[in-house]
């Protein structure tokens, strides 16, 4: 078949549906319309930067009606005045330079917009517009019509704009300013020459250095004093104590030296040390602004929902104002925000956000529907049973795990080292002081301060940030996004891995489909494994018009066939498809749809044999029942090998919210001894993890849906698997792109190796400390020696850890 790509969105074009406009081919009307809009406004430059950058606009009729409600709009706006308003919208489709270009030229498409600015890493656009001329709803519709539908969720509701903490940048700026100038001014001191010129200005230079070191000491380093004070109060010896001690002693001794005119002091080393340590802190922070690790149900839920008043008029209300007894209208693809009872006759609800299961569940009038489901198909009505905060899904968030402040509950490797380091350091300092005091009191004080200065564990404190910072970047490139550097250390300590089944080790994208034919099609006593080609063509063509997830999966599964014209097409909600092709009636769907009295006994047996945990789609062509397609879970590629490798080092468990229909398949697939637990509710999953932790295990939970949210939060490391990292993932410590799932073991090994790197580097930095201590204890620590040792150790440590971690990363 001729595969031509759409000029707008780059998808394959089906020949019959091809639309040629302005000598360019498009796959559908939507794409053509977008092109037309751009063409009319002379903005076809859009297609010059990137080939086929667009997305097909989705049908959004009625979806954004809530933007008419002024109260809701006010909550979304960042700024508002009579003739100016600013709104920041998140647009997941932003992905290339064409996107930036078109979104920054919105003012040419819509009157009233004055400027728009894209923030590419965050995938947001900030629009300044005149509310008297245009409205936010018009803007959202415009964006959607050109294929950039904004993502507005409950999360946006309370926060108009968020503040960024830039303190570290300021501190680093101050530290660098002081360091550079002090270094420059101390240069003459490094030359021990008696010269008139140097002697004359020595005092001036020293006082200037003193003044320049002040901001660095009092402002930039302030974090260390606070941290040291806190750790003393909580009786934990962390690395910040010797650092703060070293800095303070260095400052006091240097100030004393300069005031009493004894020497130049150690201000060059002091400011350098502060600068390098802050640099390490900065390096460790690698944020993925387009990801969110703190997502809760709010980012899944819409802001407003359509309520039906008693006089049958429809009105948009904010979700928080929905109360028990309200009647709600849920449109196609809309999320059900609260628990309730279905009033409409039928509904098909896709709970994939909650359970990871892609196959929609059918509900009948009077059934309970739970929050988190997505309606597929027709508009439904429901009556509210619980308000948002009391709904089944949202109640999970009232669990203690989510209330806990995520203060560091575990000790870092650096802290554990300093647990020994600090007492030993103090011991050496006072021992040498005790020795020298018997000889010369003046030297004794010099030695005491020199020991504390030289032993200041600058290199030690730099090791972990630089190693983790580097590993964080390496993992990020491989689509394993960590929340922060501490996660790496926790990853290395994991000994038990718990996997969720649906959506985590299985994939929703593909399904394992098999065909079971009825005896009518059997020839010479043999059952056929598939339909005849002619029938296949009929089925595939009938499926093409349907948007039901099962139809899409089956459509993708069936081989390519020639296109046939469909005469009649009808989608019966909850039942299936009825189509008429060349006069032949094709029925595809549930057993109810195809069942009639003419079926033979053997067909009936196949029809009615319900297999646990499996979904089937029945086929009936021209009144004859042919059989059914059975959908099984498709396990992720590389799963078997991954589990075999993981099994050697880790205890593996599989938790599932489903029934145990898949137990046999799983047992075959996974190494012997893998614990399989089925029928787990979200709270039970959480309890299961808790129990393992009480047994002293370090648990890593790998999950995906909102139903794993509790377990992810409770576990030592919660890893969320995501098919599309930009949009949905529950709160967790790390997000793993689903395509990289089989690399999980590699990531775990890399984290272990990074700890090895840190240990090696610790030895190296202790060596430097010993050399420095030799000078200090013997009373020979000149400022020059300190000024050489300090940057030298820093540079070697930083290059050593970077080289080592990159080496381990390249080792597969």
């Amino acid at each position: 078949m001729d595969t031509q790509n759409c000029f707008h969105c780059g998808l394959d074009i089906v020949k019959e549906n091809e639309i040629i406009f302005d000598d360019k081919s498009f796959c559908c009307n939507g794409c053509k319309t977008v092109y037309e809009i751009f063409n009319l406004n002379d903005m076809t430059c859009y297609y010059d930067f990137e080939k086929s950058p667009g997305a097909t606009p989705q049908d959004i009729k009625g979806k954004y009606d809530f933007l008419d409600n002024e109260n809701i709009v006010n909550k979304l706006l960042e700024f508002q005045e009579n003739s100016t308003a600013i709104i920041s919208l998140s647009i997941p489709h932003i992905h290339c330079s064409s996107c930036i270009w078109i979104l920054e030229n919105l003012q040419r498409l819509q009157k009233g917009i004055s400027t728009s600015q894209v923030n590419f890493p965050e995938k947001r656009v900030r629009i300044t517009y005149n509310p008297e001329v245009t409205s936010i709803k018009t803007i959202v519709y415009l964006l959607s019509s050109i294929g950039y539908e904004p993502y507005i969720s409950l999360e946006n509701y309370e926060t108009g704009s968020n503040k960024v903490d830039r303190t570290l940048t300021y501190k680093l700026g101050v530290a660098f300013f002081c360091f550079g100038n002090v270094m420059l001014l101390s240069f003459p001191e490094y030359f021990e020459v008696k010269e008139y010129w140097l002697d004359q200005y020595r005092g001036f230079f020293r006082w200037l250095i003193f003044a320049l070191a002040m901001p660095s000491f009092f402002y930039s380093a302030s974090g260390y004093y606070v941290s040291a004070y806190k750790s003393i109060r909580s009786k934990m010896l962390n690395i910040d104590i010797p650092i703060a001690l070293g800095i303070v002693v260095m400052f006091v001794r240097s100030a004393f030296d300069i005031i009493m005119d004894y020497g130049s002091g150690f201000f060059d080393s002091l400011t350098g040390l502060i600068f390098f340590m802050l640099l390490g802190k900065m390096f460790q922070i690698k944020t993925y602004s387009f990801l969110s690790f703190e997502r809760d149900f709010k980012s899944y839920f819409p802001i407003a929902i359509t309520k039906i008043n008693s006089d049958l008029s429809e009105v948009s209300v904010p979700i928080y104002e929905v109360i028990k007894g309200d009647r709600l209208l849920i449109r196609n693809q809309e999320l059900i925000p609260v628990d309730g009872i279905l009033i409409s006759e039928r509904a098909e609800i896709d709970y994939s956000f909650v359970t990871g299961e892609a196959v929609a569940i059918e509900k009948k009038s009077g059934d309970k529907v739970f929050a988190g489901g997505k309606q597929i198909g027709k508009v439904i009505e429901m009556e509210v049973l619980h308000s948002v905060s009391q709904s089944y899904l949202t109640q999970l968030w009232s669990n203690d795990v989510f209330q806990k402040n995520v203060e560091q509950k575990h000790k870092t490797i650096t802290d554990r080292i300093s647990h020994y380091f600090t007492p030993i350091l103090l011991l050496i300092a006072f021992a040498s002081f005790g020795y020298w005091i018997t000889i010369d009191a003046n030297t004794a004080f010099n030695v005491l301060t020199a020991v504390l200065i030289v032993a200041c564990p600058c290199a030690l404190a730099l090791t972990a940030p630089f190693t983790f910072g580097n590993v964080l970047r390496i993992l990020g490139k491989q689509k394993f996004y960590l929340k922060n550097a501490l996660v790496i250390e926790q990853l290395s300590k994991v000994d038990t891995i718990v996997f969720d089944k649906t959506g985590t080790i299985t994939t929703n994208k593909k399904s394992n489909i098999s065909f079971e034919s009825s005896s009518i099609t059997a020839k010479e006593g043999k059952l056929m494994t598939n339909l005849t080609n002619g029938n296949l063509a009929l089925v595939k063509n009938a499926l093409r018009g349907s948007n039901h997830p099962l139809s899409r999966m089956l459509y993708d599964f069936l081989p390519e066939v020639e296109k046939l014209n469909i005469d009649v097409f009808e989608e019966i909600t909850g039942k299936g498809i009825k189509a008429c092709i060349n006069g032949i009636e094709v029925l595809i769907g549930s057993s109810e749809l195809v069942k009639d009295s003419n079926l033979s006994a053997s067909s009936l047996s196949i029809l009615e044999k319900i297999e646990e945990g499996k979904t089937s789609v029945h086929i009936k062509i021209d009144g004859i029942y042919y059989g059914k397609y059975i959908f099984k879970n498709q396990y992720r590629a590389g799963l078997e090998q991954l589990f075999v490798v993981l099994d050697k080092q880790y205890e593996i468990k599989v938790l599932s919210g489903d029934n145990d229909g898949e137990r046999k398949t799983l047992e075959q697939l996974l190494p012997i001894g893998t614990e399989l637990i089925f029928n787990q509710k979200p709270e039970q999953k959480l309890e299961f993890i808790k129990k393992l932790q009480q047994e002293g295990k370090n648990v890593m939970m790998v999950g995906d849906g909102l139903n794993d949210a509790g377990a992810l939060a409770q576990s030592n490391i919660g890893v969320s698997i995501s098919e599309n990292v930009n949009v949905f993932s529950p709160a967790c410590d790390a997000i793993l792109d689903a395509t990289e799932f089989q690399k999980l073991n590699y990531f775990l090994q890399l984290s272990k190796n990074s700890i090895t790197t840190i240990k090696m580097s610790f030895t190296l930095s202790l060596l430097y400390n010993l050399i420095g201590l030799y000078f200090a204890v013997t009373g020979n620590l000149l400022p020059l020696v300190a000024a050489i040792i300090m940057p030298l150790s820093t540079i070697t440590i930083v290059s050593f850890v970077t080289a080592m971690s990159s080496y381990y990363a390249s080792k597969k």
């Binding site: 002379d42 430059c45 270009w101 030229n105 894209v118 890493p121 830039r166 700026g173 001036f204 200037l208």
Partner: protein
């Protein structure tokens, strides 16, 4: 008074000037997004081209009218 005092004072003042510039740049959020501006600055040409096209079209129309 020696020239060295003057020169060093000037150099420190200049350094402080740059330092203040850096702080204000951070404060106004210029470092928040380090990718988009790099793409944006390449757009100016295309923008001009397309507006030029518009103006030439208008001009042609004017010509036609005059003729």
């Amino acid at each position: 008074m020696s020239v060295i005092y003057l020169l060093i004072t000037i150099s420190i003042i200049i350094a402080i000037g740059f330092f203040i510039a850096f702080i204000t740049a951070v404060k106004t959020g210029q470092y928040d997004d380090d990718y988009t501006p790099s793409v944006r600055m390449l757009f100016d040409d295309e923008l001009l081209k397309s507006t030029k096209k518009e103006t030439t079209v208008e001009k042609n129309e004017d010509h036609n009218l005059e003729e």
